[in-house]
Symmetry: C2
Subunit: 263 residues, 2 copies
C-alpha cells in the first residue's frame, strides 16, 4: 500500500482503516490534532504489575486508558486494537517472536491493553511554534534509545528507561521545554538536554528503535521519556506473553491533543 | 492525650509518634509544608481493582505511592502505616467493623496500601494567599459529602464521588481555583462551585464525614474531589476486606507539599 498524500489531514477513523488494510508506517505527523498512544497488552494476571510499573514510572508510562480483559476497544480508541495499528510486536518470554501489521491471530481473550501517552501528541504544538521536528521533516521514524537509567521495579517488571530524541536549535531549547511541559500526560518536559553519553547512549546514529536523524551543528539533542519503556521492561523481565505496538507505529486515538494540555 | 500547642510546627516524625501513642485528631493544619495522604489498604488480589479505579478516577484518587504486599512503610511515608495515623476504619464486606487508633491487630500480611493525595496539602497555599480555610480556623474536621456523581467502575469496585467543602468568599473563588489547580496530584481544582443540590447534597450542615462548618453570607461553598472516595467505593461494592484512614485523620508523609506543585 502507498502512503496517502496528506496523512496529517486524515481523521483517526480514516487512518485506522488504512492500517487495518495492511499499511505499515510510522505515524508521526499523522492525523493532526489527534493524540497518539503506545500499546502494551498483557494477560490479566500480569496487568497489576504493568499498572503499578506505570504508576511508579509516570514520566515514561503515563496511562491514558486501560481496557477490560479481552475487550479490543477503549474509551479513547473506538477502533479495534488488534488490527488498527500500523504495526505490532508479539513477545513470548520477553523475546519478539513476531512483527506484524495484524495482531488478531495472536490476541488472547484475557489480554488487558494499556494505552500509554506518546510524545507525537505534542509535536503539533512544537511545529506550530516553529520548533523543528526533524523525523517528521525527514519522513522517517523518531529515533529511540535505551538508556542506562533504571526504572522503578513493580512486581516482576523492571528495565531501562527508553527515550526519544529530537534535535532542537540551541536558541529554541527553552521553548521546546516550555511547550512540552504543558503536556505531562504524553511525557511532558524532556528528561535530559545535551550529552547522550550521560544517558549511556553511545552513538546517536544507531538508535535502538526507529531511525537516525540529522543533528545540525547549531542543534542540541533533547531527550523525552518514551512509551516504548514498557516493551523494554518486557524484554528485560521476560514475562510469559505481551503484545506491543511496533515502536513509532502508534495507536491513533479519538482523543484530541488538547485534551492532554494543562492550563 | 492532649493536643500539642502548635501542631503546624511539628515534623512528620513527631506527629506520627503522637498518633502512634494513641492521639486521635483530624490533621488539617498539622505539620506545615508536609503533604498529607489518604490510606486505602486491600488484599493483594484486590489491588488491581483499586489501582485501576484510581487510574479511571484520577481527580478523587491521585495515587502518590503504593506499598509492596505486607510492607507497612512507603517511599513517602517512613513510619508504620499500621499505627502512625491518628485513626483507621476497618471494613469487612463493605461494613465498618472497627474504628481504631491502631490498626496493627487488623493488618494482614497480604495487604497492599495505597497512599492517595489529600487536599489538606494545598491548604497551606490557600492560607498563605489569604483564602480562609474554615475548618482549620474553627478547629474541626473538614466536611465531606457523598455526591450523586458516580465514579467510573473498575472490576468489582464502584461508588459515588466524595467531595470536601470549603466556604470561600465570592471575591476569592477565582484565587482558590487558580491556587489549587496547581496541585493536580492532591485533587487540584474544584469539581464544583456553588449549589450543593447540583451534587445531590441535601444539607451542608449534615456532612457524611467530618464536621459541619460555618458558611458566611458572602461566601460560596466550593467542592473538591476527596480521597475518601475509595472508602465510599468499598462501602458501596463490599469487597471482603479493607482498611482506610478515618476521614480527616490522614497519613502525614515525608514528602513536601511543594513536591506536588506544578510549574
Amino acid at each position: 500500500m502507498t502512503l496517502p498524500p496528506d496523512p496529517g489531514a486524515l481523521t483517526p477513523g480514516q487512518a485506522r482503516a488504512l492500517f487495518r488494510g495492511g499499511l505499515r508506517t510510522p505515524t508521526a505527523g499523522w492525523c493532526a490534532g489527534w493524540a497518539q498512544a503506545n500499546l502494551i497488552a498483557v494477560p490479566k494476571d500480569q496487568a497489576y504489575d504493568v499498572l503499578l510499573f506505570a504508576q511508579r514510572n509516570p514520566k515514561p508510562c503515563p496511562v491514558l486508558d486501560v481496557t477490560e480483559p479481552g475487550e479490543p476497544t477503549a474509551r479513547i480508541f473506538r477502533g479495534d486494537l488488534r488490527t488498527d495499528l500500523p504495526g505490532y510486536v508479539v513477545y513470548e518470554n520477553g523475546v519478539p517472536v513476531a512483527e506484524t501489521a495484524d495482531a488478531a491471530e495472536h490476541w488472547r481473550p484475557d489480554l488487558v491493553a494499556f494505552l500509554i501517552g506518546c510524545s507525537f501528541t505534542f509535536e503539533g504544538a512544537l511545529r506550530e511554534a516553529g520548533v523543528p521536528v526533524r523525523h517528521v521533516d525527514q519522513g522517517v521514524n523518531v529515533p529511540m534509545y535505551r538508556t542506562d537509567r533504571t526504572c522503578r521495579r513493580a512486581g516482576g517488571l523492571g528495565g531501562p528507561l527508553v527515550v526519544s530524541m529530537r534535535p532542537v536549535p540551541a536558541d529554541r531549547v527553552a521553548d521546546a521545554v516550555r511547550i512540552t511541559a504543558r503536556y505531562p500526560a504524553v511525557h511532558g518536559a524532556p528528561v535530559h538536554v545535551g550529552d547522550p553519553g550521560a544517558l549511556g547512549i553511545a552513538d546517536l546514529d544507531r538508535p535502538d528503535f526507529g531511525d537516525p536523524v540529522e543533528v545540525r551543528v547549531d542543534e542540541i539533542p533533547v531527550f523525552w521519556a518514551c512509551g516504548v519503556t514498557p516493551q523494554a521492561a518486557v524484554m528485560h523481565s521476560r514475562p510469559e506473553f505481551a503484545i506491543g505496538h511496533a515502536p513509532g507505529h502508534m495507536a491513533i486515538t479519538d482523543a484530541r491533543d488538547s485534551a492532554y494540555l494543562v492550563p
